[in-house]
């Protein structure tokens, strides 16, 4: 568990860090020879999302539940109304797996966990991308990234019964070209439950990773002003 958190934190840290100041100062001063290993400067946004569709396939796994691990796969379709805003339609199917802790308390304490578990969730929402950036990978590649937040109304399927839920997410995309990006993010799914008279609000946090395909595969032509 700690490893996962550490990994997520490291990735977030790397992604959110602004490009090194030194790179900015060296713009236009890259020469062969002495300065060969300095960062190249890349201007502008290589991937334009406005007016394009994207489809993300992701693997999701809960990261805040030590007792029941839920993991599964999902799809998210987005229509990017503007560079920073998109409507989304998503769906995720998950399976639940009780950890050894649950079996341990069952036999040692005669406590049993038999709550109905989440099977799937799906819904509609929006995505907002306020932050853009780029970073150098091994000093050879300049990769562009952005950070987005998303919110969605969801219907969760809990052992056959459906009920409303809310989804909030924070993630980053690392663009691998005009048509594809790698996606990593956290999604928080909140819904209310009542089982055997016990009411509870569930807040499942999923770590999502996946690939996004943009359509059309190339940027749309910029409008000239």
């Amino acid at each position: 568990m700690r490893t996962l958190y550490s990994l997520a934190a490291a990735i977030s840290f790397c992604v959110l860090l602004p490009p090194p100041a030194q790179a900015a100062e060296d713009v236009g001063r890259v020469h062969e020879g002495r300065n060969r290993d300095r960062l190249r400067s890349v201007q502008g946004r290589p991937v334009l999302k406005a007016g394009r569709f994207s489809l993300s396939g992701t693997y999701a796994r809960t990261v805040n539940d030590a007792l029941v691990i839920k993991h599964g796969g999902g799809l998210t379709a987005r229509y990017h109304l503007a560079e920073g805003f998109a409507f989304l339609l998503n769906g995720t199917f998950a399976t639940s797996e009780q950890t050894d802790y649950v079996h341990l308390v069952r036999y040692e304490r005669r406590l049993v966990l038999e709550e109905p578990e989440l099977k799937s969730h799906m819904g509609v929402g929006f995505s907002y991308t306020p932050i853009y950036g780029k970073f150098s990978l091994f000093s050879d590649w300049i990769l562009h990234n952005d950070l987005y937040v998303e919110g969605a109304f969801q219907l969760v399927d809990i052992a056959g019964s459906r009920q409303p839920a809310g989804l909030a997410g924070l993630g980053t995309r690392v663009y691998l070209g005009q048509a594809m990006s790698f996606e990593l993010g956290l999604r928080s799914l909140m819904y209310a439950t009542e089982y055997r008279g016990v009411r509870d609000i569930k807040n499942l946090m999923f770590l999502n990773t996946g690939l996004t395909l943009f359509m059309p595969l190339k940027n749309l032509a910029r409008r000239r002003r």
């Binding site: 568990m1 805040n64 406590l111 937040v149």
Partner: protein, 563 residues
């Protein structure tokens, strides 16, 4: 001031910041929910059986003997299906001859028939020379075969039924002495030259013995030399001043001394019905007993004798009987209530049989039906002729079967006393049935079940799921070694002929399978998988969970969270 864009960002991110580790509600179970039961039961080794029928040969028993002769056999498909519920007494015994694992050469059953008469062998009413029952001798019915045994095969059915039908061709004795007749024969007291070897041929020291009494009168066993002169058979049933009878304790001690093992003796009485109402469901004529003459306080009586009205419950008054001088009964003050039913076999009686038998109860008669009703003095709405018993039961004997609980049988009280004393501390080994029953097949089948070891085993608990049950049979080989064999489940709907299944009760008939609500705890085997006497059956299963015990305790949830 925080810019608007950042406020939106903060609002969206807030749920993420509030996210902690996920909680779960645990429930605590009581320690026992579904308990695994491991059972091992050995089918007892089978034993040969000697069956002695003591049959009332009086004239009043003509129809009953004919019915007994007919009911002793019920053809069935026992060769194809050993569990065929239609199989009669003789069919079961004959089939058991090969299934009981007896040592080679051992004869499984001996059947003998004697009667209750002392003087039926006078021959006065037998000008045709038909064989008559003789006191102390087995009655062969003219067949020349006093003991019917399993070596006779299917012919045994004819041999037994024919001799039952042949009883009383010359007229029986009015003094029915079933108990003394039994003892006289089993003690070998006869001096008849022709039957000196009957007892030796019939009774085996290693065999179990069952005595089946079939009579519509009480026992009148008495010392011949002490019978007061001039007394006829009716003096047998007079409580005071009648024929002094041999105490039943004498017969009890005789039977106890006959076999070393008490389990080797069994007894069945098909006799006059003993009043056996259901205390939990008294009929409109049942009288709560105040605890005086016939019963203890709290018992339910049909007609309670009394000394005064104080002995009777509210709504009843103590009224002298018109037919029994000096005897009073608690009768309803409201004369419109039916004061009694047809059965007068026992003038007064209480719930003397708390063990509960299959005896029909007088409450079984519908009091609303006028034809089922009559008054003590005779002649209710259904009794046009003012006689003591009601019309359907009197005169035309063919109507008896239409009113099976309505017949003129005297209660077989002394026989009941013998069984009560002989089996006082036991719940099995004896059977009762009413001679007024319209059919004796059920009782005869029950008698066979006392003798035949059937491969059915009662489990300690009803299993929760038969599909999860494991059944193994340890089969005894000729050399004594036990070989373990797993027996598969028998799907009755799948046409399977072997395996095991669960049923509601031993020899369960359609009645309990239709309801489907009974606890299926009898393990029944089929076909070649049936264990045989001497085999051992081992079962492993989970008991049915008790909802009250096993459901999670609401409110005892405990939160368990991650890191």
């Amino acid at each position: 001031m925080v810019p608007g864009g950042q406020r939106r960002l903060i609002a969206v991110l807030t749920p993420l910041l509030l996210t902690g580790c996920e909680d779960h509600a645990f429930y605590q179970f009581k320690p026992v929910c579904a308990r695994q039961v491991n059972e091992a039961q050995a089918l007892q080794r089978s034993r040969p059986v000697d069956i002695l029928f003591v049959i009332d040969d009086s004239n009043s028993m003509i129809e009953e003997r004919e019915m007994l002769a007919s009911n002793i056999s019920s053809p069935c498909g026992i060769d194809e299906n050993p569990d065929d519920a239609r199989c009669g007494f003789m069919e079961q015994l004959i089939a058991a001859t090969t299934s009981q694992n007896l040592p080679d050469g051992e004869t499984y059953f001996h059947i003998g028939v004697i009667t209750t008469s002392l003087n039926a062998n006078t021959g006065e009413n037998n000008p045709g020379g038909v064989e008559l029952p003789r006191f102390g001798c087995l009655f062969a019915g003219g067949s020349g075969i006093p003991v019917v045994d399993s070596n006779h095969g299917n012919h045994a059915i004819t041999l037994v039924s024919d001799r039952i039908r042949a009883i009383n061709q010359g007229g029986g004795d009015g003094f029915e002495q079933g108990l003394e007749s039994m003892r006289f024969f089993l003690r070998g007291d006869t001096d008849e030259p022709a039957c000196q070897d009957h007892l030796e041929r019939f009774l085996r020291p290693t065999a179990r013995l069952i005595v089946v009494f079939v009579t519509d009168e009480d026992d009148c066993s008495h010392r011949f030399d002490r019978r007061p002169p001039g007394m006829d058979a009716t003096s047998c049933y007079v409580e005071q001043g009648g024929i002094p009878k041999i105490p039943v304790e004498d017969y009890v001690s005789f039977l106890q001394g006959l076999k070393a093992d008490p389990d080797d003796i069994a007894m069945a009485v098909i006799g006059g019905a003993r009043f056996d109402p259901d205390p939990l469901n008294p009929g409109p004529e049942s009288v709560p007993c105040n605890g005086t003459i016939d019963c203890e306080r709290g018992q339910i009586c049909k007609r309670q004798r009394c000394r005064g009205s104080g002995d009777c419950a509210a709504g009843n008054t103590c009224s002298p009987s018109e037919n029994e001088p000096g005897v009073s009964y608690c009768l309803p003050e409201d004369e419109s209530r039916p004061p009694g039913l047809c059965v007068l076999g026992e003038a007064a009686g209480c719930n003397l049989d708390p063990r509960g038998t299959a005896l029909p109860t007088e409450d079984s008669i519908n009091p609303v039906n006028a034809a089922d009703r009559c008054s003590v003095s005779g002649g209710g709405a259904g009794c046009p002729v003012p006689v003591q018993s009601c019309q359907p039961c009197f005169g035309d004997r063919s109507l008896r079967n239409e009113h099976p609980f309505c017949c003129e049988a005297e209660a077989a009280s002394r026989y009941f006393e013998v069984t009560d004393q002989l089996f006082a501390a036991r719940d099995e080994g004896f059977l009762y049935d009413s001679i007024c029953s319209g059919d004796y097949r059920g009782t005869l089948r029950d008698i066979a079940s006392l003798l035949v070891i059937v491969p059915e085993i009662e489990l300690l608990q009803p299993p929760a799921d038969p599909a999860e049950m494991r059944v193994e049979v340890l089969r005894r080989q000729d050399d004594g070694e036990m070989v373990r064999e797993i027996v598969p489940y028998h799907d009755p709907d799948g046409g399977e002929l072997e395996g095991w299944d669960l049923t509601c009760a031993r020899a369960c008939q359609d009645l309990c399978t239709e309801s489907g609500t009974c606890a299926r705890r009898w393990l029944r085997f089929h076909g070649d998988d049936r264990p045989r006497p001497g085999d051992r059956v081992e079962t492993i299963y989970l008991t049915q969970s008790d909802e009250e015990v096993c459901s999670p305790l609401v409110g005892s949830s405990q939160e368990g969270g991650g890191p």
